[in-house]
Subunit: 644 residues, 2 copies
């Protein structure tokens, strides 16, 4: 019989049994202890640093850990196996922190006003599932049609549809329901299929709720929607956000897909996302003081991989050329059998996607942005681990996904991290002394640098001439801040004594390279779409930036590094979590939900992964701000002015 050991995790104090040889990262996952792990446990990201505070583990050497780190007890969890009882401390930067999430979950004004305009002007307010109280006449000898026909007769009058269909589960309870409720019932009806989705006893017409859920790779947000609210601003009764529990199985979609190749990997990831969603619903339902039984429908939006995992569909072909997902659209269905919490008996709708890398989250956001209602051409961007971009207007739509890499979410950057407390989000550099001024989220000791901080930092380094147009450090500026590090030249943003991790926070040329790749991929993707649309950047009416990332970036800095095209600042519009906004709007409007399907159908997906035009554009964008100065005249002017 194998010997059992006890592994204690700090700071949570959680204790979990393990056997000799068990992998430490897997034990943490099983114990529900989150450790950042970008690469899915392959030992290549170095994110799963833990400190062995008691006992010991057996670890393979890994170049991502210095000898100093090892001496201090640091190990990579993914490369460590159990040999005895151990106490494992998860350092701050390896923990995930939920407190930051509340920020991104708030409704953005742009989001709300877009929804109100669309609902009022175009799509009307008719929830995806309708709710009708029916006060039925009691049967007598002259009117003894079946119970189902009696309900159907009343519903078809209220709903203006044909003869509604009943699922068997409802028929089996119907006779008792009708008599116990003395012939006063409330029928939930899906008008698209003219199907009765539930029958409740009594009059519940005034309690009509839905859940909108945005299933992101990193974070998941659920909102409780009042289907009877008169405006988009008042329809969100409660909201909750948490990290996607799958994050412990890999930070990006590729890692998740890889994990699905393990035995029962798909089942595990499905179970984990359902736990995350159920926990969110369990938060918002009591918050809003509603009865879960009055939630008539759920609208989900997410990227194509997330939707596969949510529905329990193997996503493996998403990462294999020619990148075909199993499905991008999912028929409305009951929630049963999907692992939703008990007591929830709603109909589930999902916003359809377009391709493996342009999912329902993008379609949802594009629909909400209103860009498809106008003649003027808009560019829609959602920059996360992938950059998804959509170009078009009310007549045509082109879309693409550029594997931008996760640089702006902290991936591939030595001290990169997500936008969480301790992340450096704003940077200014004194161009004479090279001394920085930084602000962290939560105003606590810095732990690392998040996306907006990286954009600021690179722009400042570039404007100050500390890096050149190739993203290389200028040797002339060497000093305390700009020094030779173990991996070449590096800029020290914070010294160890100032940080929360007791390590210097630096930016290396390797980091710069990754940032350049990311920004070049996004810009090149936009360029290819524009060329395919036969227009130039200056023809754009608006640039819509969706997603949590866009929320906090400095547009002008993003233009300086050539991530965004140089356009007047008033043409940029931040939509916040447009995916969630679209799902929320669909919940209260059949017409809007139907529009998302139209949009998904009409988008032409341009595959960039093996596209020669994209490679050319990408290479051209691997400069700061770009090879083509004419596209960034003001940046070039500013540079010249600064260096004169």
């Amino acid at each position: 019989m194998p010997q059992e050991y006890r592994i204690k995790f700090l700071p949570s104090d959680r204790v979990f049994p393990a056997e000799r040889g068990d992998n430490l990262l897997e034990i943490a996952m099983q114990a529900g202890v989150h450790i950042n792990a970008s690469c899915g446990g392959r030992g290549v990201c170095g994110k799963c640093r833990v400190r062995i505070a008691g006992g010991s583990v057996e670890s393979s050497g890994n170049p991502l850990l210095s000898d100093d780190d090892r001496a201090m007890g640091f190990r990579l969890a993914c490369s460590s196996s159990i040999t005895e009882d151990a106490v494992v401390e998860i350092p701050l930067e390896s923990q995930i922190d939920r407190s930051i999430l509340a920020r991104s979950a708030t409704l953005t004004d742009a989001n709300v006003s877009a929804a109100d305009e669309l609902l009022t002007r175009l799509y009307g307010r008719e929830p995806l599932v309708a709710r009708y109280n029916c006060e039925l006449p009691k049967p007598d000898a002259n009117d003894n049609i079946s119970d189902a026909a009696r309900v159907a007769r009343a519903v078809s009058v209220r709903a203006g549809c044909g003869e509604p269909a009943f699922p068997l589960g409802i028929l089996r309870e119907l006779s008792i329901d009708l008599r116990e409720a003395d012939w006063s019932i409330t029928a939930d009806v899906a008008p698209d299929t003219c199907e009765i989705t539930r029958v409740a006893r009594g009059n519940r017409e005034s309690a009509h709720y839905a859940v909108a859920v945005d299933i992101g790779t990193t974070t998941v947000t659920a909102e409780l929607i009042d289907c009877l609210a008169s405006s988009a601003g008042s329809m969100v009764l409660a909201s909750s956000t948490d990290y996607n529990g799958q994050i412990s199985y890999g930070e990006d979609v590729i890692s998740r897909i890889m994990y699905c190749r393990k035995r029962r990997g798909l089942t595990k990831l499905h179970d984990v996302i359902m736990s995350t969603i159920n926990a969110l619903i369990s938060d918002i339902v009591p918050d809003a003081k509603v009865d879960a039984a009055d939630i008539t429908h759920i609208v989900a939006a997410g990227n194509t991989t997330m939707m596969h995992l949510f529905y329990g569909i193997d996503p493996r072909h998403i990462m294999l050329a020619p990148y075909t997902p199993a499905a991008t659209a999912f028929s409305p269905s009951g929630v049963r059998g999907l692992g939703f919490m008990p007591g929830l008996d709603a109909r589930l709708y999902s916003v359809p996607g377009v391709s493996s890398y342009v999912g329902g989250d993008i379609v949802s956001g594009v629909a909400l942005s209103g860009m498809t209602e106008k003649g003027g051409i808009s560019l829609f961007m959602d920059i996360g681990t992938n950059g998804e971009i959509v170009l078009g207007n009310n007549e045509w739509l082109l879309c693409a996904s550029c594997s931008a890499g996760p640089a702006f979410e902290g991936g591939g950057i030595g001290f990169g991290m997500r936008a969480a407390p301790g992340a450096i989000e704003k940077v200014r550099i004194n161009q004479a002394t090279l001394e920085p001024m930084i602000l962290t989220i939560g105003r606590v000791r810095p732990l690392g640098i998040c996306g907006s901080g990286l954009i600021d930092l690179v722009a400042e380094l570039f404007i100050g001439g500390i890096i050149d147009r190739n993203g290389r450090f200028s040797l002339q500026k060497q000093g305390i801040r700009l020094r030779e590090g173990p991996n070449g030249m590096e800029y020290v943003l914070c010294f160890a004594s100032e940080t929360g991790t007791e390590r210097d926070i630096t930016l290396t040329e390797i980091d710069l390279d990754n940032i350049m790749r990311t920004k070049a991929a996004v810009y090149a993707g936009c360029s290819v779409l524009l060329q395919n649309g036969g227009i130039g950047f200056t023809d754009l009416d608006s640039v819509i930036i969706a997603g949590g990332f866009g929320h906090s970036i400095d547009i002008e800095k993003a233009i300086i590094i050539g991530l965004l095209p140089q356009l007047p600042v008033d043409r940029f519009r931040f939509m916040g979590n447009a995916s969630l906004g679209g799902a929320r709007t669909a919940a209260v409007s059949r017409g809007f939900f139907a529009k998302t399907a139209d949009i998904a159908r009409s988008m032409t997906n341009i595959e960039l992964s093996e596209n020669a035009q994209f490679m050319n554009e990408f290479m051209a964008a691997m400069f700061l701000p770009h090879t083509d100065d004419r596209a960034f005249p003001e940046v070039i002017d500013a540079l010249k002015a600064g260096r004169e």
Copy 2:
């Protein structure tokens, strides 16, 4: 711990354990030993006579058993409880015998030619579920839509429908199916909802089968249908009939509904009907040498109670005024969760019914009869335990059910029995000697009298003046055959020495009363419908007699007793099992199936149970042939001639 006893049943030799106090009828049911039991175990029908051939049981006295019977070891199983080991012999007349069933299962000519005409002239051949082989282009970088969209694209071209929907179960397997099958798959599509119901690997288009099942209260028949057959005559590849396993729980629908009030009674009856159906399907699939996976759909027809039990819906309100069923129409669904045999993954359709006592079996038969396609008015009759009647043409339809009582199926008749071997089916009586000439089914020793035998017998007794117009025996004819019995006057059809039961087979005035009630109810029901339709019997173009009962009756004798109206014999048409014929036809024709829904919707149900007009007509029909001589001029003439 309770003492266990061993109960052995003869002639099957089956042995089953029981505990002290267990009810003998329930033990037999659990053991799968069938004993006729009309009343559902209430001790009032006297049908569950068994002989205790070894050991003993404790029985309450029951007036339905004579002292002689008791002395010979006969007991009523429903009133007996276990006290020790016992050997229980099921007498022939209490057994049910499957051999007779083959007869009724054969296709009747009328049935086949009606289907062929309807399909050719009106409804076309388009199976309820279509089957399309799709040879899909392999995805490449220029065509990398999702796997589901690839299938949908091909199917929508073949099916001429919009974008088909995929159930989640199919999506979860789709990517593997497509690749394992090298992009050649067969999609089953329900055109009504444009839903893909299954995806099979490879080209299965030429193997396209359905199952038609008629769920009768007494018998169940399943047929394997070739959806690609060119004619109704050739489309039935195999057929199997068995008694409905529920028969042990009560012979009529009321007994079954009563049984559902017991704890887990509904579940039990549902399980039993599913076992019966599964056994039939297990018969026909190998008979026809097909793969169960190639059965794309099942079409079921049955009376309203049977459909409730089949779908697992509590039927209790069917027997409570005002007689509202839970449902008469059932939405198409998958077979999963209903208890069908593994390996079957078909879509299930049911022919809709009208009311608690006019079910889908009647609608199915009416549709097949073609009466709704003609201007001339037809009367459709199905006489079983209930008499269901439908009147109308291509413009209007009236229907009713008269609780005729089970006299013609042997119920309420001392020596009545179902049409099984040993049943007397033909009777002639020498009017001088009163000596009978009889024929039994299977030409074996007589065990009892079935419906057609009863009609013959009563007509002969009436024509011969042995009974008067009130159904009372004529005291002048008393003799060996006509004698005073324990329950008043009785006619002896067979003496004990000639029978297979060693008891005299007799017909009493109580029996005559029950037969009169049955025939009066049927005739009165017809009269009420005709009056509501504003027509007389002679206005009828045709009288269609459906069901196993009609199969063997002598029309002229049925007119003599006033069961059928007096019309030229060529206006009567036997349809055989029209319910099954309709289900079979629907399986290969969407148009025909849609027609059944139209028919169900357009039938006006006339409730007879508390109808004063019906009571008047019923009283008027409680004579032979009827109070109103003008309705039966030829019978009256024949009587006069016979007695002059």
